[in-house]
């Protein structure tokens, strides 16, 4: 039996569904393996009415999921229990749903209504977990429902639910990127949130959805800086990384004067230097002088906001969380003035005590930092000494850091340390050490000879790898001053008899060929030996033998002519085409024939040209163009979703964008929300408030609790006034919504309402009436709309351009929008001399128009819209609306429906059709005693139905 295939099958393909699972583990029901149909016992347990049995079954199912076994065939049985009262069963069902909903979309829809109910639960944990699960079910159909739920949760009074809403944003975005614009609105709203709980999560959402909208941060920048210390650790990391990027776009380079002066001094030297290059870079010099003068004239002053960021992140270097420490360290590295960067060294060195994985990442970053700012780690040199028990990758990284830190003063200690490393048993590490010695030798001239001698001693090492590595490094060092070291070259020539490592052999051959003048006697002999063993060599060695032959032929053709011919003939028939090619090419070049071209005259020049010595560079050089601490930096390759760290701006953008305006007119309706807030305020007081020196979040958060939020700084007002529920007090029959607040509109304010008139030119459009008011002191001219952004299928009929709107006057205009029966927003720009981004989002009730039906027709239609198309909710009516009139008034206010005449006064019926597709919408409200009421909505479009139920429910219960 293909037991293994059943075990390995993760996707839950249908192939294994009917197969029995044999009892490899008791938890998955293996003991019942005599049953041919698997999981029957589990299904039975799930269907029972005992919670303990259900729980047991769910536990076994979750254990199967955890092991990666397929449990998808239990979906119908599990989903039934989604409304189970037992909280643990419920949670486990959620786990199951999130895992399998994507595969069984249709069945998953059955559970949606439970979550929607959960979203209204008085218990915030249940509200939050309903939203969590709802947003984790990756089913495209429910995108509108998710959107609605997120929007609602974003204004929930519980910060925990708001946090969950922030988490849900990236989930929805990954499911349907089309929702971006609407999600940005929610993000904007949540960014204004003042609780530490939400801050980290919403910045995370910001980073995933719209990292380019740096403008959303302006108003929240200072708040984020001040709240930072109280945010939970993970949020801190995300916020700090984002603020690093932000600061790079908004502030000036604090080291600008320094770099200018450095450049300047270079320029000066040229100025006093020789005369002939004067006219060449005259211009350049002028530029530099100008820059210098600029620097002198305008001394750098750090933006106070820049300082605020540096000051508020510094204490976090003391965090227990390595990721936070690293985040602050990279912030200082990228943003702080040179003199202040040093503080991070101590904290980073501390992290080296942590788990080896942490060490690995930290060392990578330290390696990059040491290249730019060596001085700051020099005092901690000894912390990078290597222990024999370190894992190899840590050893290599420490070696890298030690090499970067080496300078004239400490080189002797470092070399002594390296000597002990060379004896290590870990050969990869020894090889790396030899490389490191090579680099020290090239960088620090004083010790070059010492290093070279040491390396030559290693040539007699017993381990071949060590010798080979030394040869390679010696080759590089010798290239710097070959004439002094012919004895070393001789010594190496002897080694060809013993060393087998191809790279080392190739290096020796190259050296002999290159410096054959220094070893005129030995070189031909080496070639003779090599010619003998040519066929058995590795390709890389063969190539160098050909090179050696060519060079000897050119310098000493008498002795080597025959040998060279022989080698070239061997190469001509080699299996490797590179070698054959090379042989052919070289023969043409060096052996003069009638046919040979002009090039052969220059063969000597070609082969024996002076070659520049290689520069031994750290692999970490220039890695700092990646933001430190990032995955991309670690891999030295751009990872998906990486945001480039921008260069400092030439001139600082306007700092006033970060000023948070004091709200002048806080409308009355914020009162109710501020009362809600007050309830939470008690727990919201920042923990560090007592120690916070300056006007941080503390004061603002506190003051908010006693007075209305009017006195407090923040930018929440704009959004709050926009949300529909608070506009209820205005409502008569037609609600009006704000499109543009007069502060954001710079004097222009716009309100709009759904006039419920049929839009004359297009029957599929909803008419939107807009009222423009000019509150500024000057006339506004040619006001029109442009740059309309719509979801696919939607259309807009623009309003006629308003020629002029004098100060203090108002004007109205009507536009038509075809929403395609969805609550997607229509986004566009209002344009006169300035541009404003605005968006109109219809409440679901405005997407329909009334139709007139008789009671019989109504019942007939209703009969055809049963089952999935019918949604029923029970509710208790608000005291004030326990009469027919009130119900009709509230329902028709919520939705553009007409009443269906009927006999009983206990029943109210309403009917309408959606504007675009003309699907019927039928609403029935049946009242019983004590305000108990049943609300039924029948609609072919389930999504519209669900949303409508929600809205009517809200209208009737408030």
């Amino acid at each position: 039996m293909s037991v293994s295939s059943a075990f390995n099958d993760e996707k839950g393909g249908s192939s294994s569904v009917g197969e029995p699972e044999y009892g490899h583990d008791p938890a998955s029901g293996g003991i019942f393996s005599s049953d041919y149909k698997r999981h029957d016992d589990l299904k039975e347990m799930l269907d029972s009415n005992k919670d303990s049995l259900k729980l047991e079954a769910m536990k076994r199912i979750v254990a199967m999921i955890a092991r990666g076994k397929n449990a998808s065939d239990l979906f119908p049985a599990v989903v039934k229990n989604v409304a189970c009262k037992n909280i643990e069963v419920k949670k486990l069902v959620y786990v199951y749903l999130v895992r399998y909903a994507e595969e069984q979309q249709d069945l998953a829809l059955l559970s949606i209504s439970t979550f929607q109910r959960g979203l209204k639960d008085p218990n915030q944990l249940i509200r939050a977990s309903a939203l969590r699960v709802l947003s984790s079910i990756r089913v495209t159909i429910i995108v509108p429902i998710m959107m609605l739920a997120i929007k609602e949760a974003a204004s929930d009074m519980s910060p925990y639910v708001r946090k969950t809403a922030a988490h849900a944003i990236p989930k929805l975005y990954s499911l349907d990127p089309e929702q971006k614009d609407q999600l940005i609105e929610v993000i904007e709203k949540l960014l204004a949130d003042k609780t530490t709980l939400v801050a980290g999560s919403v910045v995370m959402a910001f980073e995933e959805v719209c990292p380019e909208r740096i403008d959303l941060i302006h108003k929240n920048y200072r708040k984020l800086c001040n709240l930072l210390i109280d945010v939970e650790e993970w949020g801190q990391v995300v916020i700090i990384n984002m603020l690093t990027r932000y600061a790079r776009t908004q502030f000036l380079n604090p080291n600008i004067n320094e770099s200018l002066l450095e450049e300047g001094s270079g320029g000066e030297k040229a100025f006093y230097g020789s005369d002939d290059d004067e006219d060449e870079d005259e211009e350049e010099k002028e530029k530099k002088a100008e820059a210098m003068a600029m620097a002198k004239r305008k001394p750098y002053v750090m933006d106070p906001d820049h300082r605020l960021l540096l000051r508020n992140t510094k204490p976090l270097l003391q965090s227990r969380n390595a990721a936070v420490v690293m985040a602050v360290a990279q912030l200082y590295f990228h943003l702080a003035p040179k003199a202040e960067v040093g503080v991070i060294a101590k904290a980073l060195v501390r992290l080296l005590r942590s788990h080896s994985e942490v060490q690995y990442v930290v060392l990578q970053n330290v390696a990059t930092m040491t290249i730019k700012r060596r001085g700051m780690f020099e005092p901690y040199l000894k912390s990078f000494y290597i222990r024999s028990t370190d894992p190899t990758q840590i050893k290599v990284l420490k070696l890298e850091v030690l090499t970067n830190l080496a300078n004239e003063t400490n080189i002797s200690t470092i070399l002594r340390e390296f000597q002990t490393y060379i004896k290590s048993m870990d050969k990869d590490f020894v090889a790396a050490t030899i490389q490191a010695i090579g680099r020290c030798a090239t960088n620090i001239g004083e010790v070059r000879d010492t290093c070279l001698n040491g390396l030559v001693q290693l040539l007699s090492n017993r381990d071949e790898l060590v010798v080979a590595e030394s040869v390679v490094v010696i080759k590089k060092l010798l290239q710097m001053q070959p004439e002094k070291h012919s004895d070393i070259i001789k010594h190496m020539a002897k080694l060809t008899d013993n060393i087998q490592v191809p790279m080392a052999r190739a290096s020796i051959l190259w050296l002999i060929g290159e410096y054959c003048e220094h070893v005129p006697k030995i070189a031909p002999d080496v070639l003779r030996k090599m010619a003998k063993s040519f066929t058995n060599e590795e390709d890389i060695v063969k190539l160098q033998i050909i090179n050696l032959a060519a060079k000897l032929y050119l310098t000493n053709s008498k002795q080597t002519k025959l040998l060279t011919q022989y080698v070239l003939n061997l190469a001509k028939y080699d299996q490797n085409y590179d070698i054959r090619d090379r042989a052919r090419f070289i023969r043409q070049l060096i052996v003069p024939t009638e046919k040979s071209g002009a090039l052969s005259k220059y063969a000597k020049k070609l082969f024996l040209a002076l070659k520049p010595a290689p520069v031994l560079e750290s692999p970490f050089k220039d890695r700092d163009h990646f933001q430190l601490g990032s995955l991309s930096h670690l891999l030295n390759a751009k990872a998906g979703g990486y945001q480039e760290l921008p260069d400092w701006p030439e001139a600082a953008p306007d700092p006033s964008v970060r000023n948070v305006e004091v709200k002048e007119s806080v409308p009355e309706w914020t009162k109710c929300s501020s009362r809600e807030k007050r309830r939470e305020k008690k727990v919201e007081k920042p923990f560090y408030s007592d120690s916070e020196g300056e006007s941080g979040p503390t004061e603002s958060a506190d003051s908010e609790s006693d007075s209305a939020s009017g006195s407090e700084s923040g930018s929440g007002s704009g959004e709050e006034s926009g949300s529909g529920s608070q506009m209820l007090s205005f409502s008569v029959t037609v609600k009006s919504y704000e499109l543009l607040h007069r502060i954001t509109g710079e004097g222009l304010s716009v309100e709009y309402c759904f006039s419920r008139q049929p839009f004359s030119s297009d029957a599929n459009m909803v008419a939107v009436q807009m009222q423009f008011t000019n509150n500024s002191t000057s006339e506004t001219k040619s006001l029109h709309m442009e740059d309309v952004k719509l979801q696919s299928g939607m259309r807009v009929k623009e309003f006629a351009e308003i020629e002029s709107l004098p100060a203090g006057e108002s004007a109205t205009a009507v536009m038509g929008i075809d929403f395609c029966d969805s609550t997607q927003a229509a986004n566009f720009q209002l344009t006169h001399t300035r541009k404003f981004f605005v968006s109109i989002q219809p409440p679901v009730g405005e997407l329909m128009q009334p139709v007139f039906l008789t009671e019989n027709e109504f019942k007939k239609e209703q009969g055809q819209l049963m089952g999935m198309n019918e949604i029923t909710e029970k509710l208790t009516l608000d005291i004030k609306c326990r009469n027919e009139h009130a119900i009709v008034q509230r329902v028709t206010t919520t939705a553009n429906l007409s009443r269906v005449p009927c006999g009983s006064d206990k029943e109210c019926r309403f009917a309408g059709r959606t504007v675009t597709s003309g699907s019927l919408v039928l609403v029935t409200v049946v009242t019983k005693d004590e305000g108990a009421t049943q609300l039924t909505v029948n609609c072919e479009k389930m999504v519209i139905g669900t949303m409508l139920v929600k809205d009517i429910l809200l209208a009737l219960t408030q």
Binding site: L55, V62, A63, A66, R67, G68, N86, I87, K91, N123, L125, S135, S136, R138, Y160, H167, A168, P170, S174, L197, M204, E233, W234, V237, Q318, R320, A322, A323, A327, K346, A347, V349, R350, R353, H355, E357, V361, K382, Y385, R387, S388, P391, Q393, T420, S424, M425, D463, S630, L631, L634, L635, G640, G641, Q643, K685, Y688, D690, S691, E692, G693
Partner: protein, 418 residues
């Protein structure tokens, strides 16, 4: 952020998988297995691996690999730190973090993972908050639950989640109110052949066990806070107070936690408690080598050195060891080539000595380097740096708690090169 998590045991079996976004097939782990194969030693596997479509970030805890799958840019330390936090939570809940324990508590583990991350972003990682949502399993509770049908899952939002002190749960009650602090210092040192110190530093940690009723606000002060050069704190410690007054002021979490870690400034000379006289030599002729190690007390501040143990990673060529120890036992593991000499208490009158011969594989050249000695030791009631807690005060509650401070010095990464 974190897309999926796989738990993998030493033999390379995936015994748990959890996905926070859509499901990623197990085959992604093959890249990891490949790297593991190459690395020979499990600790040599690079923590961050790149595959064509994903990035793999893994940690090794105990004998388990926690392997997370990442799709987009994320700070690697963020993931590593989180994975360690997961392992810490398991340790905290089940007393151990091993394959057996995790398999036994698979459902609780799964519930924990579900609470700790949402969509790959950490949601609740404080143990106090988690314990209110998902109660740790105890025998008593599981018996009660089977009888009453109760559950291990809380149905209200833990208060900690909303407050600015998420680490402490509300409504804590004890009949005995106690607060214990362990000051543990570790000496990291490298000594060279002749016994001179190549480098040495002291790292300290204060582990606390606080069982106090209500919302106590504690203040811990030191006699000599100047000793502390670099510190890191549990989030509960008010940093501003430390900066201005050098006292630790905090509302503690309930239960066990690490209050702070510190580093003693390197200006102070570090006292090395023991000296080691060693002579390990391998002869060129004849398949044998000789080993002779003696350990004696050096600067112990008049205290006894306990738990002395020497570990040596021998070269591969050493086949067996024929030694005699004047004190304690030694063992030589043939497979891993590790020689362990467990000495116990150090008696200054009669110094422990281990000597004898090592037999080598014939025909293999003499090892280049002598193996270095790793030393473990423990000294009770001594903080080697001289750090002393002067007092502990409690505000905010009326009762009198029982307070205790204990000092221990240990060898950290203490290595003698030979």
């Amino acid at each position: 952020m974190i897309h999926s998590l796989f738990l993998i045991n030493q033999s390379g079996d995936i015994f748990l998988e959890k996905h926070w976004k859509s499901v990623i097939g197990r085959s992604v782990c093959d890249y990891f297995f490949e790297a593991k194969e190459k690395a020979v030693d499990p600790e040599n596997v690079a923590p961050v691996l790149q595959t064509p479509h994903h990035y793999l970030i893994s940690i090794l805890r105990g004998k388990l690999f926690f392997l997370s799958v990442i799709q987009t840019e994320v700070p690697p330390l963020f993931v590593i730190e989180f994975l360690h936090r997961v392992a810490d939570t398991f340790q905290d809940y089940f007393g151990d973090c091993s394959e057996g324990v995790i398999k036994d508590n698979l459902v609780t583990v799964y519930e924990l993972l579900e609470e700790m991350l949402d969509n790959g972003f950490p949601l609740a990682t404080e143990s106090n908050v988690l314990k209110e949502m998902i109660r740790p399993p105890t025998i008593l509770r599981s018996v009660v639950n089977t009888l009453t049908g109760g559950s291990n899952v809380g149905d209200t939002l833990p208060t900690g989640q909303l407050s600015n002190i998420p680490w402490r749960r509300a409504g804590v009650k004890y009949t005995n109110n106690e607060a214990y602090f362990d000051v543990i210092e570790e000496i990291d040192a490298i000594l060279d052949k002749s016994g001179t110190t190549v480098c040495a530093e002291i790292q300290g940690v204060i582990e606390a066990c606080v069982r106090l009723t209500g919302m106590p606000d504690l203040t811990l002060s030191f006699m000599n806070p100047r000793l502390l050069d670099d510190v890191s704190f549990h989030p509960c410690v008010r940093f501003k107070r430390w900066e201005s007054e050098r006292v630790l002021s905090f509302i503690p979490p309930d239960g066990n936690f690490t209050l702070m870690t510190y580093h003693v400034s390197s200006q102070n000379l570090v006292a090395i408690p023991v000296y080691v006289k060693q002579n390990i030599s391998f002869f060129e002729t004849g398949p044998c080598g000789r080993l002779d190690i003696t350990i004696g007390p050096k600067q112990t501040m008049g205290k006894t050195v306990e738990g002395l143990m020497v570990t040596i990673h021998m070269p591969k060529a050493v086949l067996s060891a024929n030694l005699t120890a004047t004190q304690g036992n030694y063992s030589y593991d043939l497979a891993t080539k590790v020689l362990v000499w467990d000495i116990g208490k150090l008696n200054p009158q009669k110094l422990p000595n281990l000597r004898g011969s090592l037999s080598m594989q014939a025909g293999v050249p003499r090892p280049e380097e002598n193996p270095s000695l790793n030393i473990e030791l423990k000294i009770q009631q001594l903080a080697i740096s001289g750090l002393k807690v002067s007092r502990l005060d409690m505000y905010g509650e009326k009762y009198k708690p029982f307070k205790g401070v204990k000092y221990v010095t240990k060898a950290g990464k203490f290595q003698v090169r030979t």
